[in-house]
Symmetry: C2
């Protein structure tokens, strides 16, 4: 799941995709995804049983998880580990019997990079090892470097006074912050009441308490501009290194850990030559950062030795998705495709076990289960494991663009994130007509509790019937709401059915998401097995259904205009 | 608070001190501490008010806390930081107006040592920085050393097979372990029900569920012997370094942190030349340790680079306590002494803020309050800040031995911890007769909720009256039970009134106690201010009272024998 600094990605994207103006492509006759849908689903309970048996008693999900998170490690897009993960998933999918396993180039990403070694210690007044790690795409220091510290709280910094004081020094860039006590469990599952609440669709004024996205984004743009201006002053002095504090995650979950997601990068597009920052930078555990900052605030000179050793492994690196198939067997339907996926890439602090190793290995296990059962499936099942998700859904976005459709984007403010810009009409492909549905899982290691329909009203009653036999596994909830933050949005954006499962939250948001705590230890075997079973059943049902899955109505900007014109001047006595 | 590997220190010591046979010294007339005690306390509410005013509105406890934990850092006994802390407390106590501030040598400790820098990283298969730190008294590696890993789970290790496989390698010594989810808050305060429960004194068979200390200690001795035997095999191979996993602390508190207490040392008496281990050793965060161990278990060769840089700063170092006084003013009583303290020393993982910076700064603040009020106090107030507590109450034990009394210990099994050995009669000093009471605070940063009387029945009703005006501050509970694990035991052991306050648990046991999370961030200002006020009031009340505080009856081994003899053969028909 990706994260926009200062704004929870799930809110931003959920709301942002709604107003997209999508022009419907001309089609000769009404396709089944826009046609009438039966009220009753013809599900096969024997297949439910066989999928459960295979998935709950002969699972390989933990072996996949160990090989990916322990065996390969963190998978920053463009890094050697990402290439390893692409190759390993391709080969493993082939090994478990899928066909046409291959890598697909989704476009240019930026620099290849990996962390080799990072350490720091206070030299004085007290020798203390300090936990930190390189910010992604940071250059190396010239071996271990020692420097006096300068502490900058951006809220109170006086750029004019700072100028000229930082050359050769080590800059603590960011405010120290309080570390809340852990007075609530960091790990939790959804209660029945919480799930029940998610089933309701608020019709009056949206979800209560939902943030004002426009305002948040404006704040963000302003904050980034201030940050950039301050950074410019810092960089002009050419300090030896910059250290940032690890961000908070609420409720004490951000204590004792290192988050290294977008917040840890000094610039947007840190992966590009243009966005690169030439001063080595690291992100530090808040307890160590606070101690250094407090010493300085108390007028104690502090010196730190830091060694950041990183390696640039290429430039203009392309990103790749791993794609493989179980071909359909029904001559009439096998050209139609049901997709499942997760993203392989991660940040570097942990080993990306829950974000999104979990979604990747669950998808692998789901297709393994279906392949192992060796039963004919009418439509083709395709697994896609994305990269570039963390930097902005690049892998799935590129895939969707190449296969399904492209927006004609008008020129727009580059400071506004792509997903908030106005869009021109959508041009779709032939494949767009045959993509049935895409299922995604990217909220950590928790078991599936239901599905978000992304405001696809027709699909709710279908899913409801599908999950009824899974009540004992804890799958209960169909929410008509939007959820965001991950790759199903790339499908949803072009009018294709893309869904994200509802998962038990566990300690994903509080602690593991983008932190050094995101390791194999956090993978919950029983949950992942359940999720793979549910996903396999969804794939199977989609594949076997007579009709394709219903799609949301395709909005025409012209229709919207006509809709407005029709009610113009209806107020008696209205003056135009 | 100190910690005995495998046995919660509070249980061990609480029970262990009870059966001590203490021979009462001959005294000419009944001293007030053994005489009749009035049922009503003559407390001075004006002084309560003035102490509160000074302590809650003009506190310096956080400045003390910052200077000690941030400014000096961890304070391992015998280390340069410990010497700094001794000097800083002596000078600060002088500065706030105490008299006769000085350091007292409590005896020989062992080697002086400090950590300079420790870091490790996986070299292959995946370059990853690993969080670890030197085990106390570990020697240095010869600069950064790289070696293949050997993983040893002591439960299944085959020493014969291991022999000869470890030379030049890096040994992971210790089982990997699961990392529990944080499903309960790590931070909590006592509920009213919990405090109520502590007020009851169980008379039938001791506390329910209390462990069998003899059995636990026997298990511990056996475990240590197995551990020592295995270690011998490992050391004989001369590996490049040994890495141990950080221990658990229950409920997920042991995840993502590094505990470096006794469990991190490879030998008992690691601080001594005889106990020293000549192979460099470190303790590692469990998530990183587990990953390394799992890779090996999955047949992936792993190599690690580790740099342990430490410094031995002396041998046969002596330990010192910081002692200072506010002299009494009543000619009749000023030779009597009321003591307060905490221990200054810590382990090295954090900065010893809560263990036991908190107790030290609260005691300093308590005497500062009394001094600032500038009112005459009848008896002399003496603050003592101990060292060597973590290794076995050495500082307070040595002080008590030098000032108050010595046991004539019979020769005993050196494998049995000193506090479990049989004791001969106690020889007391003149000062023993004039030590009124000792108050200790060493359970972290939580506010005072009451006092343990250590089975001193007469003192309960006295304390109850003292705390009645403090109900609004949350002080409510007199528990007649024993509590252990810290320096009041040194007084209790020789028949002197030594007390430990009941404090809100916060996240002390779960997370901060002996870990890298024990930093200034964990200090709770309002709690520490409250604790200092309560402690100052206890000191003041003790100082002003007409009689000295009641002592527990002084058991005579001879009386115990006579007691048994008196009932011999009382069963009708009993055959001797």
């Amino acid at each position: 799941m990706f994260f926009v600094r200062g704004v929870a990605a799930s809110f931003v994207l959920a709301s942002a995709v709604v107003p997209l103006a999508i022009a419907q492509k001309h089609v000769d006759k009404v396709p089944s995804y826009y046609g009438a849908q039966p009220a009753t689903e013809d599900i096969d309970l024997t297949m439910y049983s066989r999928i459960r048996e295979e998935g709950l008693k002969h699972s390989h999900v933990m072996e996949f998880g160990g090989a990916l998170s322990d065996g390969i490690g963190p998978r920053l897009t463009g890094s050697p580990n990402m290439a390893k993960a692409n190759a390993w998933t391709r080969d493993t999918l082939t090994k478990i019997g899928l066909e046409n396993a291959h890598l697909e180039d989704w476009g240019e990403f930026g620099m290849g990079w990996q962390q080799i070694n990072t350490w720091a210690r206070m030299v004085g007044p007290d020798p203390e090892p300090l936990w930190c790690q390189a910010a992604p795409w940071s250059p190396s220091t010239k071996g271990p470097v020692t420097g006096e510290l300068v502490y900058i709280d951006p809220a109170t910094a006086d750029a004019a006074k700072l100028k000229g004081t930082m050359t050769g020094k080590i800059v603590l860039l960011g405010a120290m912050r309080p570390t809340p006590d852990i007075t609530e469990p960091l790990f939790k599952r959804y209660t029945d009441a919480e799930l029940k609440e998610m089933e309701s669709y608020p019709t009056a004024g949206g979800r209560p308490g939902a943030p004002n996205i426009q305002q948040l984004m404006a704040d963000r743009v302003r904050m980034q501009a201030q940050r950039a201006a301050l950074l410019k002053v810092v960089l002009a002095d050419n300090p030896a290194a910059i250290i940032q504090p690890s961000r908070d995650s609420g409720g004490g979950g951000g204590t004792g850990v290192i988050f290294d997601d977008n917040g840890a990068n000094l610039s947007r597009n840190a992966q590009s030559r243009e966005g690169a920052v030439n001063v080595p930078s690291a992100v530090m555990m808040i307890e160590h950062y606070n101690r250094l900052a407090r010493l300085i605030t108390n007028h104690v000179p502090v010196s730190v030795e830091i060694n950041i050793e990183t390696k640039f492994t290429g430039d203009h690196e392309h990103g790749f998705d791993t794609v493989a198939e179980i071909p359909g067997t029904d001559p009439k339907l096998k050209n139609e495709v049901v997709m499942v996926g997760g993203h392989l890439d991660s940040w570097i602090s942990g080993t990306g076990a829950t974000d999104n190793g979990a979604g990747s290995i669950v998808a692998m296990e789901a297709v393994r289960i279906l392949k192992a059962l060796n039963v004919p499936m009418r439509r083709t099942i395709r697994i896609a494991l994305w990269s570039g998700e963390e930097e902005g859904l690049f892998g799935s976005g590129g895939y969707v663009k190449q296969h399904f459709g492209t927006f004609n984007d008008p020129p727009s403010d580059p400071n506004v994130p792509a997903f908030l810009r106005a869009h021109g009409p959508l041009t779709t492909t032939k494949e767009w007509e045959t993509l049935d549905a895409y299922y995604n899982l990217d909220n950590g290691t928790g078991k599936v509790r239901g599905v978000y329909t992304q405001e696809n009203w027709a699909i709710g009653p279908i899913f409801k019937q599908w999950i009824a036999p899974l009540a004992d596994l804890g799958v209960s909830t169909i929410s008509y709401r939007n959820t965001g933050g991950t790759d199903h949005l790339s499908y949803d954006a072009v009018g294709l059915p893309g869904f994200q499962f509802i998962q038990d939250p566990m300690d994903y948001e509080t602690r593991t998401h983008h932190s050094d705590m995101d390791t194999y230890d956090r993978l919950h075997q029983a949950d992942l097995e359940q999720a793979a079973v549910v996903e396999a059943i969804f794939l199977y049902n989609t594949s076997q259904r007579e009709a394709m899955m219903p799609r949301k109505p395709f909005p025409h900007p012209e229709t919207d205009k006509a809709r407005s014109a029709a009610i113009e001047g209806i107020y008696p006595g209205a003056v135009k």
